[in-house]
Symmetry: D3
Subunit: 177 residues, 6 copies
């Protein structure tokens, strides 16, 4: 039977490092459920984009790369903030999966305690392919678009994502509001 993996991330925003991870996972398993975590949050410095926007970005990136939609499923997963219920929550909202791919200590701990097989994923130039780095560059008007797939960069520009982040950070002091 085909094996399915789970990959959870916040994708704020979806970048080239995420893309490499998806490719890596698809070498290991037949299909991957890509869960967009913290789905209820948006419009903060840590979580600027809505789940719908992040879902759109991720889809654009996978399409651009030519990964077949037969091989993945994208869906939003809310945070519960009650950690011990989170695995049961994820399981209830997704199709069956046989293993979990993650480097996040909390995700790893919770799925391992629940009896799941968990595997680490390699990092791809972690310093730059990092959502934190990208958001920092967006806020300070530095180049960030080279760190995300081209279609993601143009979607973020379309929804004025850079501006949203700058404005929320209060850094855009010249704005007339």
């Amino acid at each position: 039977m085909a094996e399915t993996g789970l990959y959870v991330g916040r994708f704020q925003p979806f970048h080239l490092g995420h893309l490499e991870v998806v490719k890596y996972i698809l070498e290991k398993v037949d299909r991957v459920v890509i869960a967009i975590g913290s789905a209820q949050y948006s419009h903060t410095l840590e979580n600027p984009f809505t789940a719908g926007e992040r879902l759109t970005m991720s889809k654009l990136a996978l399409d651009e790369t030519g990964i077949s939609p037969e091989r993945y499923l994208l869906l939003p997963i809310t945070d519960l903030n009650v950690h011990k219920l989170w695995v049961a929550h994820v399981v209830s909202q997704t199709p069956a999966f046989q293993m979990v791919f993650s480097n996040d200590p909390l995700t790893v701990t919770l799925f391992q305690e629940a009896g799941f097989r968990v595997e680490a994923v390699p990092f791809y130039s972690r310093q730059v392919y990092s959502a934190t780095e990208i958001r920092k560059r967006m806020m300070s008007n530095q180049d960030w678009s080279s760190l995300v797939p081209r279609s993601v960069a143009s979607f973020i520009r379309e929804i004025k994502g850079e501006k949203r982040l700058q404005y929320l950070s209060g850094s855009d002091k010249t704005s007339k509001i």
Copy 2:
């Protein structure tokens, strides 16, 4: 630009009527976001299946019918029970859509009040292709499998869905438990 429609249902379970609606919508728009509503509920007589199980059923049905995964996106949407926030909630969790397909009075009212274009969908033999009818038949051990796509029927058997419903309804009095 390609047009996207939204189709919200509970899909308890996904049946042949739902399939006809998806086909109908795909004649009208390029892509459809299929939102599995009341996603947090399961294990009741009204909502026996989890969102993950319903997502799996829906995917199987669309695959069986040969509808390309390029044309739809399946995702869970929780109920808020605070109706006036629900449209904003759906919008925040989904990619952009330009119109809504629904016959449900509440869904129609809320999306219309929020300024969305809403269109009714035709009913396909409403008396039989109804999830309520299917659940009733499951509980009373009558034929229900002819009302759902073959792959859905076999998935429901695999997860012992019929038994779950019967047991929850208390009708399976011969059980030893």
Copy 3:
């Protein structure tokens, strides 16, 4: 010191009976806090109107009657559904009050158990001046506007409240939708 009373209702919609109660209370105390309960609910047959709409109706009715805004405060109060916390919730959201006016058994019980002075209010032609009766008439296209202050009737027409209720009840079968 001036004495303040609390009057809690759902006001779905605000009618002539409610108005009489407010007048009655203002004979007993100097000021009244009018709390619009179940504030998060709307768009159901029991709770068709939002808290904002009900607040508007109530304000219109009090203005029409010439009751001075110095003498009342209108505000929304959500339901908690955890009854034993509800008094603390109301107290935390309102200015200080010294007594409670209510005929609702749950409200009376909870405030009495919390040590508040609770007084019943007289009913004014309870059969007709009843929100349930008014909603029933709205759904069946019978005269309801004589049961509410004139300004309330015209506000409900303006927001198409009658239609919303009929449509939600599924009774408006001639609709094209």
Copy 4:
């Protein structure tokens, strides 16, 4: 190693049938965790008593019967209304247990699906030793005290529980309020 069982109930109120079940369980296992379910609810006809009141009743009943406090643990468990998370919730709030005692179809289904050993408990004169029957008698002023341990009856009288139920049911029409 000593074996621990879980027994979940609403105990509205704790009656002689519950007491027999506890005794039965303590013949099978060394210790029992008695979880008072729906802990957040009170002041309704289905759930008149708070979790704290039900905990007090249960403790009084077990003390009266001479069951050693070494052998049980009493604690409140809130309902989540999201059934598929409930087992994880119970597990996170209680000491480890090895088996579950229940006749409730939902409890049985959820714990079995989570891989727990579940055992039915015998019914003791189910028609009379039933919390529903007791609440019905309380509301209609019939004898109910013979169906609960003596200490429970006197505690209910002390907190005026019978009156609370009657008043909430609106049956106490002679009340002045």
Copy 5:
């Protein structure tokens, strides 16, 4: 038709700067809905006062200044922490408004994205007329009362607000508890 503005603040506490903003808004529009945000929070260093206490303060300040109650409506609004639903939440709890007055980046962003007209408000000696400054002074026993309307200062003293803040901050180490 008369135009209504929305002004959202936490008012922890209501100070002279807030009062100037209300006057400014009332020069621009006919009426203002003053929404007391983060209404569920209290008893923290950031949010020491309950919504009810803040409502009382605001009312006292407006009365003291002679602003007619015909021109404003004061009400509590809870935080949702799910930002993308917040505008819909505010709209559902308030009478209709045509524009929003705010300098808060998040409020501005959310209302603008929802299509509302948003206008900045002037700051009045921002360094001193700031709730953060006032709370800091309260905690360190410095003069704060000159920064709030006289009636607000005496209300805060009446409810021992200064002491509450000091005690919560743990700075009042000499307290016997």
Copy 6:
């Protein structure tokens, strides 16, 4: 009548200082309700253990010390994060108590405002008998077991609590995951 005290703590983990406080309280009152606060949280650096694990630890510590189970009741209490409702919440979930033992400014303030008698508890070598200190030692692989009762230390080892904390803190960088 016997007097009951309330003692609320997070017990992350239960240590020798907590044990001294329980003994101290039992010199003052006949029985103590020990409420394990923040019950919904676990798997964070501040709250590593589940309520069920903390309940188990506390029970082991009290048993080891020979404190009779007749004299205490252990139960989990969730945080509401809406402080002004918390006292009502605690009261609804516990048997009646006549006084509260606490040094926590928030707990003291809330119970005092609600009219309860509150008493401070002595600190026992506060620098070392502190849960914060113990968690810090666990994370940095220093001796912590001398600060907790022996049975608690061995339970924490059994559930690999030290490792969980280290892993969650990201300090265990040599782990293969």
